[in-house]
């Protein structure tokens, strides 16, 4: 069917096997999430709400909490840097590498580093930057984009991966997942040892102690801060929480929401360079706090999106994501969270992404699963309203104008006339009505018989006869 919305077109043209992979993966994660939460907690919803409040409170008092985290980190021997933009962050990373004469960097999974396109930047500047998360590694080999924030290659199947490995010289074609994993293991071990700098993200930072909580299932983040002497943690300013104990709430929810695990396999707490007695690990630790539009978001009607802990649950449950896949969203963060966040992170390029908030039936499933209770549908609506106020065509394409309709609906006499006139709809084929919205409806859907005003008449007669 014809469509004016790029995500709808992407969904229409998506190869069925990709839709199937995305659907199966999403459903499995959704089910596991639900099982693990309901098995563990009497009232999981209360904990989601609590987590939402903790994050919201922190954001509303971010200067104090971020300030305290920085003070603690510095006290623990880490060097703290401030990056206003993605470009600033990239430059800081390059400068750190140069300061230790490094040309090789190994990275654990970090959405922020995707957001600022770090790999490309380092490569351009003559440095090697290797992804060590298995999924991200495959994405990098393919020069592809992750399509999910937790499971980046949910859009690929084993055959495609086997081809990629063969092309990259990682052995003959073999599509056994175990073999694929072992080959990545042995290739990446050498990369860990060779790299001079390890870069990680950070899932949470405690303002109380400066502790950075970092989770991975594969152990790649552990390797990134064991085998080399410099550690860079690149972290968005919104990752702060007030106290160590609050980490217990968020960690309890993060893994359950993301993969249905009680806890992620490796949950690490880092609050400084290695201790003297420890032979392995970084002697220098750099923490880069990244703003990149976040302070603007904080001051806007979209601030709640900064609570996000990147669990991916809203993607997994989202029917539009399931139909269209993550790549449809044209940005690092797909699904409902991406539909809210990507236009905002785009800054001045907001209009380019103003169609993303339209990719929702506003069913509210995303809010229902969000571990920090972000009112995603409300934020999507605010975007739609903003786009309407600013007259952004990309957002309104395909949506019928409501101006005339609102006059109709606020003028009872007109409304009643149209109830009579609507009868005409029964006599002409909808396919012949040259209104795009009607066409869009009628191609694969019929309308029920028009019965305008019938109830009103029935009710009046009934009152008369009483």
């Amino acid at each position: 069917m014809k469509t004016k919305q790029p995500i709808d077109a992407f969904a229409r043209d998506l190869p069925p096997e990709i839709r199937e992979s995305v659907y199966v993966g999403s459903k499995a994660k959704y089910d596991k999430r639900l099982d693990s939460l309901t098995q563990s907690f009497a009232a999981p919803d209360d904990i989601r709400k609590l987590a939402g409040q903790i994050k919201q409170h922190t954001l509303e008092n971010l200067p104090e909490y971020l300030g305290s985290a920085i003070e603690k980190l510095e006290g623990n021997g880490a060097k703290v840097h401030y990056a206003k933009t993605g470009d600033d962050a990239n430059q800081i990373i390059l400068d750190i590498m140069r300061s230790v004469n490094a040309t090789k960097l190994i990275k654990s999974k970090s959405m922020v580093s995707e957001e600022i396109h770090l790999n490309k930047f380092l490569e351009k500047n003559g440095c090697e930057s290797i992804e060590s998360d298995l999924g991200e590694f495959i994405v990098q080999l393919d020069d592809d984009m992750p399509s999910h924030i937790v499971t980046p290659i949910v859009h690929k199947n084993r055959k495609q991966i086997a081809n990629t490995f063969e092309k990259a010289g990682l052995g003959d074609y073999n599509d056994d997942p175990q073999t694929i994993t072992r080959r990545a293991r042995s290739f990446l071990r050498n990369k860990y040892i060779e790299a001079e700098v390890g870069l990680t993200g950070g899932n949470f930072v405690s303002a109380e102690t400066g502790r950075i909580a970092l989770v991975t299932n594969e152990g790649n983040a552990r390797f990134c801060i064991s085998a080399n002497k410099t550690h860079i943690a690149l972290i968005g300013i919104e990752k702060v929480v007030p106290r160590d104990k609050d980490l217990a709430v968020l960690l309890n929810l993060l893994a359950r929401s993301a993969t249905g695990q009680q806890l992620t396999v490796y949950t690490q707490f880092i609050n400084g360079p290695k201790s003297e007695a420890q032979p392995d690990g970084p002697e220098n630790m750099h923490v880069i706090f990244l703003d990149n539009e976040r302070s603007n978001i904080l001051g806007s009607e979209f601030k709640e999106i900064l609570r996000c802990i990147r669990c991916g649950a809203c993607l997994n449950v989202c029917p539009i994501y399931r139909q269209s896949s993550g790549h449809a969203y044209r940005a690092v963060y797909p699904g409902p969270v991406g539909a809210v966040l990507s236009p905002l992170l785009a800054g001045k390029r907001y209009p380019e992404y103003a169609d993303l908030p339209k990719a929702s039936s506003l069913c509210g499933a995303c809010n229902e699963v969000c571990p920090v209770d972000i009112p995603l549908p409300e934020l999507l609506l605010r975007h739609r309203n903003k786009a309407k106020r600013e007259g952004i065509k990309k957002a309104s394409a395909g949506t019928p104008s409501m101006a005339g309709w609102s006059v109709l609906c606020s003028t009872p006499a007109m409304w009643k006339t149209s109830l009579r006139a609507g009868k005409a709809m029964d006599y002409i084929s909808l396919n012949l009505i040259p209104v795009p919205a009607v066409q869009a409806w009628a191609k694969e859907r019929s309308l029920p018989p028009f019965r305008g005003g019938k109830f009103r008449k029935w009710f009046k007669d009934r009152q008369k006869n009483k």
Binding site: M1, K2, T3, Q5, I7, D8, A9, A11, R12, V317, P319, I320, Q323, S324, K358, A359, S360, S361, L362, C363, G364, A365, E368, L381, R384, N385, A387, K388, S396, G398, T399, P400, S401, M402, A403, W405, S406, L408, C409, S410, P412, W415, L419, G422, A437, A440, W441, E444, R445, S446, L447, P448, P449, R451, K454, F455, R456, W458, F459, R462
Partner: protein, 251 residues
């Protein structure tokens, strides 16, 4: 919203919703009969049109307010207003808050919101009805209708329906998933919308129910519209119609 904050009583107004005004008169009729059965006196204000949701979801909040103000004027906030739709009542109880956020008449909208109820929610939480008399022999899969999330509607509907003799509510897969209607989404995203609808129909009818039930005719219009085009119609009923049929069977 807590039941105690809300306006209740047996002198009620029906907001039939624009869909029942144009297509589904039987649902509005059934709603009247159900309300009268439980002792309500029902008024149907003539000037009513629509809650304003289509404009709201499309982002046009000026138009939304125009319609919403008309609706607030049309209904008397001192009496309960009953809607046979989870979606429209959600619009009034939540959407208005957002659309009027920065407006001087926010409190007018909120006062009206406190008097508005979805039918099943009203029966159970407004009037304290726990079970429904009569008989209706059918296997029913009840679509959840997304806008009832976070409200009492779905569980109230389940409570009433499952108390009817002969009704068997069947479980189906992916009950949390949306039917794909979404108001203007259905025409702005026709491909996605229809694909979602097809999947929903598959799940709803997997166990061969006699009836597909809903608390909202918008979802139904979309789903049966698709099924119709595919030439595989299913029997559909709004909860009010099931309640009414059960009453008739008792007589």
């Amino acid at each position: 919203m807590l039941a105690t904050d809300r306006v209740t009583g047996t002198q009620v107004q029906l907001m039939m919703t624009c869909l029942c005004d144009t297509f589904f008169d039987s649902v509005a009729q059934a709603t009247v009969e159900v309300l009268e059965h439980v002792g309500c006196t029902v008024e149907v204000p003539e000037a009513q049109t629509c809650c304003g949701q289509p404009a709201f979801n499309s982002g046009d909040w000026d138009s939304t307010r125009k319609v919403a103000r008309h609706t607030c004027r049309t209904f008397d906030s001192s009496k309960p207003t009953i809607l046979p739709s989870g979606s429209c009542s959600h619009m009034i109880s939540h959407g208005y808050d957002l659309a009027f956020e920065k407006e001087d008449d926010l409190s007018t909208a909120q006062t009206f919101a406190k008097s508005s109820w979805e039918l099943c929610d009203f029966l159970v939480n407004g009037l304290g009805i726990e079970s429904w008399p009569g008989r209706f022999d059918a296997k029913i899969s009840l679509h959840r209708s997304c806008h009832t999330r976070g409200t009492q509607t779905y569980q109230s509907a389940v409570k009433l329906l499952s108390s009817i003799e002969g009704v068997e509510l069947i479980e189906f897969d992916e009950s949390e998933q949306c039917c794909g209607f979404g108001g203007t989404f259905s025409v702005a995203y026709p491909n996605t919308s229809v694909s979602m609808g097809k999947l929903k129909i598959e799940k709803l009818t997997a166990d061969k129910p006699d009836i597909v039930g809903a608390v909202d005719m918008a979802c139904m219009m979309h789903l049966s519209g698709i099924a119709n085009k595919q030439g595989r119609q299913f029997n559909k009923l709004h909860v009010s119609e099931i309640l009414m049929k059960a009453l008739r069977n008792a007589k």
